[in-house]
Symmetry: C2
DNA sequence: CAGTGGTCTAGACCACGAA
DNA sequence: TCGTGGTCTAGACCACTGC
C-alpha cells in the first residue's frame, strides 16, 4: 500500500490562497533545501504523497512536475522520483585556447578531462561541405560554402557538449582540417601551419531551454537549460577563419573569463 | 463553443508509439517554427484543440505545458496561450568595465540602455553590512564582514537583472561606496580614487533554472533560465576588492567576450 | 455575460524495474 | 508479481479578461 512518507513533510494550509499543488511543491523543495532529502535520494512515491496530503494523484503529479521543471528532481519510470544530483562541473578557463596549450599532441578536451580524472570521448564525428546558414555565413565573411565539422563530447559516458565548426571552404579544402582526425593540436594548430596565425577569439554566450533534438543528443533531464556558445576565431590579418557553434549541458559547465580593467 | 483552429494543425497518428500529448506539442511546435503562428500570436484555445484532436482537456494541457517549458509559449489567464515573443537582447561586451567607459557621469547600465533606445531604471536599492556567505568570503580573502549593495535593473519597466556587490568592510565603510548613490562612474571609480587601481576582473558564467524567488523578482515566464554571473574585481596589488553576484533573465542577454590567442 | 486558462477529483489502463 | 511513474478520460468549479 504505501507507508508514511516519514515526518519530514507537514500539512497543507487550507486557508492559503496558494494552490494545493504549489504548497506541496513548496514543502518538498524546502525539505530538499534543508537537506532532509539528500542528493540522489528517493522522494516519497506519488501514492505516499496522495495519502499523506489527502489529495488526488494529479495534484501530487503537478507538484512533482514543478520540482522537475526547476531542475531539483527527476523521475525514473518504474523506480521513483529522485533529488537530482549535481554532476561534476567542467570549468572552461579563458586561456583554454592559448597557443601554449596547443603544442602537445592531444586535444584540449582530452587533456583537461584526463587531468580531472574523467574519461573523455568524442563521437558523432562528421565532416562535410555545406552551404552555411545566414548568421554563420555573415560571421565568416559570406563564403559560398563552408566545411562543417560536427562532433559530440562525452565525459565518463555522459554527453555534455555538441559542437559544429565552420571554416571557409577555400581555406580548409584538401587540408588535414577536412580529415576526421585533424591531428595534434586540433584545427587551430593546422590553421597556423597554413599561415593563418591566430590573433584572438570572440565568444558569445547565451542560455535557453533545449530543443527536443538537443534533449535527445545531450540526454538532458527536464529542468536543465543549455548554454549556447558561438566562437569566432580571427587571424592576425583580421580575417574570421572559423566559427564554432557549441551547445553545452548547463549543469555540466562553468565558463571562466578574464577581463582587463584598462 | 469553439471554432475550428484553422487548417494549420494536422491529425494524430494512432499507430505511433509517441504519446498523444507529445504529438500535439510536436504539431504546434512545428507550426510555430514554420511561422504559421507568429511571435505574440494567440494559439488555438484549449477547447478548440480538444475538439480538433478529439482528446480530453488534460491531454491538451499537457501538450501546452511542454511548449511552455521549452520557452516557446506562455499562457495568460483569461486571455489565451501565446507564442512567446523574443524580447530585445542586451549585449554585454567584454570591455564594458574598461576605464574609459567610467570617465563620464552615468553608470554603464544607464549609458548603454539609453544608447539602445530603452528606458533604464534601478530599484530595490539596499546597502547594508553583513556576514558574507562562505563562497563570497573565500573570494574576498575571508573578511569578517562585508558591505553588500543590492539592486535590480529594469529596461522599459521590465526587470532583467538582479545584482549584489560585496566589498570588504575595511575598504568600503565610511566611503561613498557605502552610500545608496556611489557617485559618477560607480563604485569602481570610487575604488580607484581610494588608491585601489583596478587590474582585471574574473567572471564565472553559469546557467540554471530560476528559484521561485528569482521568478518573482525578475517576473520570469516559464521556460526561461537565468544566467548566473559572479565577477571578482582585483586591484593591481592582486587583492580582490569586490565580488558581484548577478542573476540575469537569460532571454534578455547575450554575453560577449574576447579571448587572446597568444 | 461568455470565453479563457487554473485547479482538482476519481477513476482507468499501461510500461518499466526490481525482486 | 507488485510498486513505480506515464498517459488519458470526463467531468467539476474557480478566477481572470473582455465585451
Amino acid at each position: 500500500m504505501a507507508a508514511l512518507p516519514s515526518g519530514i513533510l507537514g500539512d497543507l494550509d487550507p486557508t492559503s490562497d496558494r494552490a494545493v499543488f504549489r504548497q506541496i511543491a513548496d514543502q518538498i523543495r524546502e525539505a530538499i533545501d534543508r537537506g532532509r532529502f539528500k542528493e540522489g535520494a528517493k522522494l516519497p512515491s506519488e501514492s505516499e504523497l496522495v495519502e499523506h496530503f489527502g489529495v488526488s494523484r494529479m495534484t501530487v503529479r503537478n507538484a512533482l512536475a514543478i520540482l522537475q521543471s526547476e531542475g531539483l528532481a527527476s523521475s525514473e519510470h518504474g523506480k521513483g522520483v529522485f533529488v537530482r544530483p549535481r554532476p561534476p562541473v567542467r570549468r572552461l578557463a579563458s586561456d583554454r585556447f592559448a597557443r601554449r596549450h596547443r603544442e602537445q599532441g592531444k586535444s584540449a578536451f582530452t587533456v583537461e578531462a584526463e587531468a580531472a580524472g574523467s574519461k573523455p570521448e568524442v563521437d558523432s564525428l562528421e565532416v562535410r561541405e555545406e552551404k552555411p546558414a545566414p548568421d554563420i555565413s555573415a560571421r565568416l565573411g559570406s563564403p559560398r560554402k563552408v566545411l562543417a565539422r560536427r562532433r559530440r563530447y562525452l565525459l565518463d559516458g555522459r554527453p555534455v557538449e555538441a559542437a559544429v565548426s565552420y571554416l571557409p571552404l577555400d581555406l580548409a579544402r584538401g587540408t588535414q582540417i577536412a580529415e576526421p582526425n585533424p591531428g595534434p593540436g586540433g584545427i587551430y594548430a593546422r590553421l597556423e601551419e597554413l599561415g593563418h596565425r591566430l590573433d584572438h577569439f570572440d565568444e558569445e554566450v547565451r542560455a535557453r531551454m533545449p530543443s527536443p533534438s538537443e534533449v535527445k543528443m545531450l540526454r538532458l533531464s527536464s529542468g536543465v537549460p543549455v548554454i549556447s556558445l558561438i566562437r569566432t576565431a580571427y587571424d592576425t590579418d583580421g580575417r574570421a577563419v572559423e566559427v564554432c557553434d557549441t551547445v553545452m549541458a548547463a549543469d555540466a559547465y562553468v565558463l571562466a573569463y578574464q577581463l582587463p580593467a584598462n
